[in-house]
């Protein structure tokens, strides 16, 4: 009995400290996020991003967009990328062994011709079948690489090998970029002289139901379906609060794979994207940070709260489950690959705060949460705790979650205010109320499956089918 008491005591008070730490972290996240967002908005009022577009002194950038079976949308997406106004730019599309007519369409529409370009093999990749460039000078910025299928990370590495410019911007080819997205993501790379800015990222938003014309976002609309809508709220919370706060601390471990800029030289030194993980975006950032920490070189990972990139969210539970399963596996793989950083003072803030945070409060979250809820429910059923206590806690949980979501919506309204209609704000608030009962349990379940799949050593990405954007001509 004494042992039982000791163990239960350790668990009780251990978890109490855990909860307390998390409360403090969330409060700090809120505070840092406000400070950083306000500072960014004020600083932005002095910035004329257009300067960069035409300046010959602007950093040279290579956009790298892997495409796999994107035949349905590839022409429009590439057109969108080519329409970006930036003088020192090349656009590299990697056809990662598509089985559809993706390459043929590109060749036809953009008048491509196979060329004998030399490509460095700074990072090992799967074989390249051919490099294509346009015979039409209008598309001189475009390079298409056709290669044997090797996954997203391998395709990105091929693009890095091909890239001629100083910075690479990795992007999901089906994403819709804001007109000035590239200018905004590049500027943070130029803001510092005393520290090397190794990567820069921005806010990704949900594009479902938005009106898209010729690969450009015409009108922002809150998703009409439940799942994308709740993900819109989830993204606002994650990007506007969490990542802004970590950016303030220079503790960010993740730049979204959908749109992120990196120092090419450093990426190559670090060995490029890891093709053996499904969370290649996070893994690269962690590896780059680790590299800099080990060499004691001052560096920064920058993040801006501006909405830069719009992506299509899963609309079915099946696809969502695959996505969350993959995210969890990617996170576990990354954290495991860099376990030496765990509470290691050699890695500074990353080792002592960022990594442990991700380990305890992101990776272990679904497990602890499920254990907590289930045992609590069972105890209520068998009478070990009373139902009024159970419901008080449940009420507290829902109230806390709702408060946090409402705070995120307030931040969104006061900063970038993308959803203009009041009814849209109301719908977001309503979705915040239902989230704990519908969306969240499903996401937790999918993450748990990710855990199980990781233990089974499952490596697949899972097919990500998309509905495609709404193409509506806006009436005048």
């Amino acid at each position: 009995m004494i042992w039982f008491d000791i163990i239960s005591g350790i668990i009780s008070y251990g978890i109490f400290l855990y909860s307390l730490s998390l409360v403090i972290i969330y409060v700090l996240i809120g505070i840092f996020s406000i400070i950083e967002t306000v500072r960014h908005l004020r600083a932005n009022s002095f910035t004329d991003f257009r300067l960069l577009a035409s300046s010959p002194l602007a950093p040279s950038v290579s956009i790298i967009a892997p495409a796999y079976n994107e035949g349905a949308t590839i022409i429009e997406n590439v057109r969108s990328l080519l329409s970006i106004y930036y003088s020192n730019l090349e656009v590299i599309i990697i056809n990662d062994g598509s089985t559809d007519d993706c390459l043929e369409k590109l060749v036809d529409v953009y008048e491509l011709k196979k060329v004998d370009e030399f490509i460095r093999h700074a990072i090992p990749t799967r074989p390249i079948r051919g490099i294509y460039k346009s015979t039409n000078p209008v598309y001189k910025k475009l390079v298409v690489i056709d290669k044997v299928n090797g996954g997203k990370a391998d395709a990105l590495n091929t693009g890095i090998n091909m890239a001629c410019n100083d910075y690479i911007v990795s992007i999901d080819v089906d994403c819709i970029l804001e007109q000035d997205a590239l200018l905004k993501i590049v500027k943070p790379l130029m803001d510092e002289n005393s520290k090397r800015v190794i990567a820069s990222g921005g806010v990704v938003r949900i594009a479902n139901s938005c009106i898209i014309e010729d690969g450009s976002l015409v009108k922002v609309v809150l998703p009409k379906k439940y799942l994308p809508r709740v993900q819109a709220l989830e993204y606002i919370r994650a990007f506007l609060l969490g990542r802004m706060a970590w950016s303030k601390l220079n503790g960010l471990l993740l730049i979204s794979g959908a749109f992120g800029a990196f120092d090419k030289d450093l990426v190559i030194k670090c060995g490029g994207y890891n093709p053996n993980t499904v969370g290649e975006d996070m893994e690269l950032v962690v590896r780059m940070r680790r590299y800099m920490e080990e060499r004691k070189e001052p560096y920064l990972v920058k993040y801006i709260p501006d909405p830069l990139c719009w992506t299509e969210a899963p609309t079915s539970f099946k696809i969502l489950a695959r996505q969350r399963n993959r995210w969890m596996r990617g996170m576990i793989e990354t954290l495991r690959a860099h376990k030496t950083m765990f509470f290691n003072p050699r890695y500074g803030l990353i080792g002592m705060i960022s990594y442990p945070y991700w380990f305890f409060f992101e990776m272990l979250a679904p497990v602890v949460e499920t254990f907590g809820l289930l045992s609590f429910l069972i105890m209520a059923i068998v009478g070990l705790v009373e139902w009024h206590f159970f419901f008080s806690i449940l009420f507290f949980i829902v109230a806390f979650g709702f408060l946090f979501s409402t705070f995120a919506i307030l931040m969104e309204v006061m900063s970038y205010h993308q959803y203009k209609k009041r009814t849209e704000i109301l719908k977001l608030l309503l979705v915040a109320l239902t989230e704990p009962f519908v969306f969240h349990p499903f996401v937790v379940w999918s993450s748990l499956q990710g855990f199980v799949d990781y233990l089974k050593k499952k490596k697949s990405w899972g097919t990500m089918t998309r509905e495609g954007f709404k193409k509506v001509i806006v009436p005048n």
Binding site: M1, D5, A43, D116, F371, E386, T406
Partner: protein, 552 residues
């Protein structure tokens, strides 16, 4: 986020499981007692207080003399009476009481519940009123006689052997007040046990909900205010734009006629005291001024001073807040207030980067290349972004020479050296060739890189050879830069040197050397072709690449 809350519940569970302290009674059924292990600092009073019995009774029961000091005995028998003990089967059993066990026939069983007397249990419906009244009387009598001891020592010592409340299986109706009081009492006695905080959790949840609804109210209030402000701004903007348009096309030289032109429309006049309205006018003036030159631009500056907006900008310049100060500097610069150059110049080395940047831009706006004298005193780095911004401003000027550039190239601030090299490169200041060459030996590889790049635009006959000399001591990035520069500045003299670089390990160097060789040597294609046929990859690919480039 909800993980946090679930974890809290998990903690509650663990805490609920951790309640295992047992009271085991000794003695006969008519003379029951509990053996209490005396903890350090415990007194009769604290023990009595804990077991809801007078401390004198404990002393008397143990044949000891009562005193208020430290106890010497290691164990004390605490008697169980009707005051502090509810027997099994008694209808007064309530939730929250601690069970007392007794061993009988080799088996341990509950014989009743310890009533610590901090509350009076509510009697179930079938309980007799007499029992209750006698119980209360007993309790009151006991407490009155031992009032001192009850109010006495602290209960801290109890934590050592703190008994935990266990949910009684045989619970009848329980009053809410009773539960709450019981919880409060127990909380004072020891560990934090979340189960006892039901009310607090509920009220916290209610508070959170109230805060949430306040935030929702704030969202809609903000939206409403924002919309109202937007509409009002739009209305005012129409008048401001009209005023500015009139000012732009004004050709009058006569002061009186000008004043008449600059007269505020009535609509604006009424609201011109408002800071927001004045700011709106300043913002619109700046937008218009950005695209104007000559007389039209001058008219806008005159309108700005006529309306007294200069005062607003000066106030901002004095502000302690960086974003207001920077805004003030920006306004003064845009409105050509060069008489404010001195106070603005002082801000060119401000510790705030935004104030510093705006001040530097303003000084360059006022003084052109001469304005760059702030570079001599600059102790902070000048960011790449700011460098682009300043060069953009300088490119609009007719003059193209940077005064004291050679001194700036020796600055201890490396970013100043890099910026100077960029200016020399962009404006082709050939006279500074030798000074730039000196930078090839700079300690900072970034400075050397920019010096190499700069030489592409200001080279002479000696440049190629100098670059060739420093090549071997350079880092990879700078070597590639040298090869790229040699592509422009090199001649047949560099052919041998470039040919050797084809055999470097780094593929980028091979490619850069081959590209330069093609420009410097007429037989380069044959040379690379030979290497390609001898060594194969990657030279074959490099050869194709070069040929492809020549075709294009």
């Amino acid at each position: 986020m909800r993980i946090l809350l679930t974890i809290i519940t998990c903690f509650f569970l663990a805490a609920a499981f951790g309640q295992k302290q047992k009271f085991i009674a000794g003695g006969s059924s008519t003379d029951l007692y509990i053996n209490h292990k005396v903890a350090s600092k415990e007194t009769y009073s604290s023990i009595g207080n804990r077991y809801n019995i007078s401390p004198q009774k404990i002393a008397y029961y143990n044949n000891l003399e009562f005193h208020n000091g430290k106890l010497l005995a290691k164990y004390l028998k605490v008697p169980l009476s009707s005051q502090n003990f509810v027997r099994m089967g008694d209808t007064r059993i309530v939730e929250g009481l601690t069970p007392v066990f007794k061993k009988a026939n080799g088996k341990m069983g509950i014989i009743g519940y310890l009533n610590r007397g901090l509350m009076q249990p509510k009697i179930s419906e079938d309980a007799s009123r007499e029992d209750l009244s006698s119980s209360i009387k007993d309790s009151v009598r006991e407490k009155t006689t031992n009032a001192d001891s009850i109010a006495g020592p602290s209960r801290d010592s109890v934590t050592m052997v703190a008994p935990q409340p266990v949910v009684a299986k045989k619970v009848t109706a329980v009053s809410k007040e009773f539960r709450i009081d019981n919880n409060k009492a127990n909380r004072k006695r020891g560990f934090f046990r979340p189960k006892e905080y039901v009310k607090e959790f509920f009220s916290s949840a209610v508070t959170l909900t109230v805060i949430t609804f306040c935030l929702i109210g704030l969202i809609y209030f903000y939206l409403s205010v924002k919309k109202k402000a937007f509409l009002s701004r739009q209305r005012l903007k129409t008048h401001v734009v009209k005023l500015i348009s009139t000012a732009i096309i004004n050709e009058d030289e006569d002061q009186a006629a000008q004043d008449e032109t600059f007269e505020l429309p009535r609509m604006l006049m009424k609201q011109f005291q408002s800071k927001d309205v004045r700011q709106l006018v300043i913002d619109e003036l700046i937008v218009a001024k950005k695209s104007l030159r000559g007389k039209a631009a001058l008219n806008l500056v005159q309108l700005y001073t006529y309306l007294g907006l200069l005062k607003d900008s000066l106030e901002k310049l004095k502000s302690e807040k960086w974003y207001i100060k920077a805004k003030g500097i920006q306004e003064l610069a845009m409105m050509d207030q060069s008489k404010m150059m001195l106070p603005i110049f002082r801000q060119t080395n401000s510790k705030n980067e935004f104030v510093r940047m705006e001040a530097q831009s303003a000084i360059v706006h006022f003084g052109g290349f001469k304005g760059l004298r702030f570079l001599h005193i600059l102790t902070y780095p000048i960011s790449d972004w700011q460098q682009i911004k300043l060069i953009e401003q300088l490119s609009l000027l007719s003059e193209k020479e940077l005064p004291d550039a050679n001194k700036l190239l020796q600055s201890k601030n490396h970013s100043v050296v890099i910026f100077t090299l960029k200016i020399i490169s962009v404006f082709h200041n050939l006279a500074l060739h030798d000074d730039v060459i000196q930078c090839l030996h700079h300690v900072n590889p970034d400075v050397r890189y920019h010096a190499i790049k700069c030489l592409t635009n200001i080279y002479d006959d000696t440049t190629a050879l100098t670059l060739q000399d420093v090549y071997t001591t350079e880092v990879i990035r700078n070597r590639i830069a040298i090869l790229q520069t040699l592509k422009v500045v090199g001649s047949t003299e560099q052919a041998d040197f470039l040919y050797l670089q084809l055999f470097e390990d780094d593929d980028s160097i091979k490619l850069a050397a081959a590209s330069a060789l093609i420009e410097c040597c007429p037989d380069a294609l044959e040379l690379i072709g030979e290497v390609s046929s001898q060594k194969g990859y990657p030279y074959t690919n490099i050869l194709h690449h070069i040929k492809e480039g020549l075709t294009v």
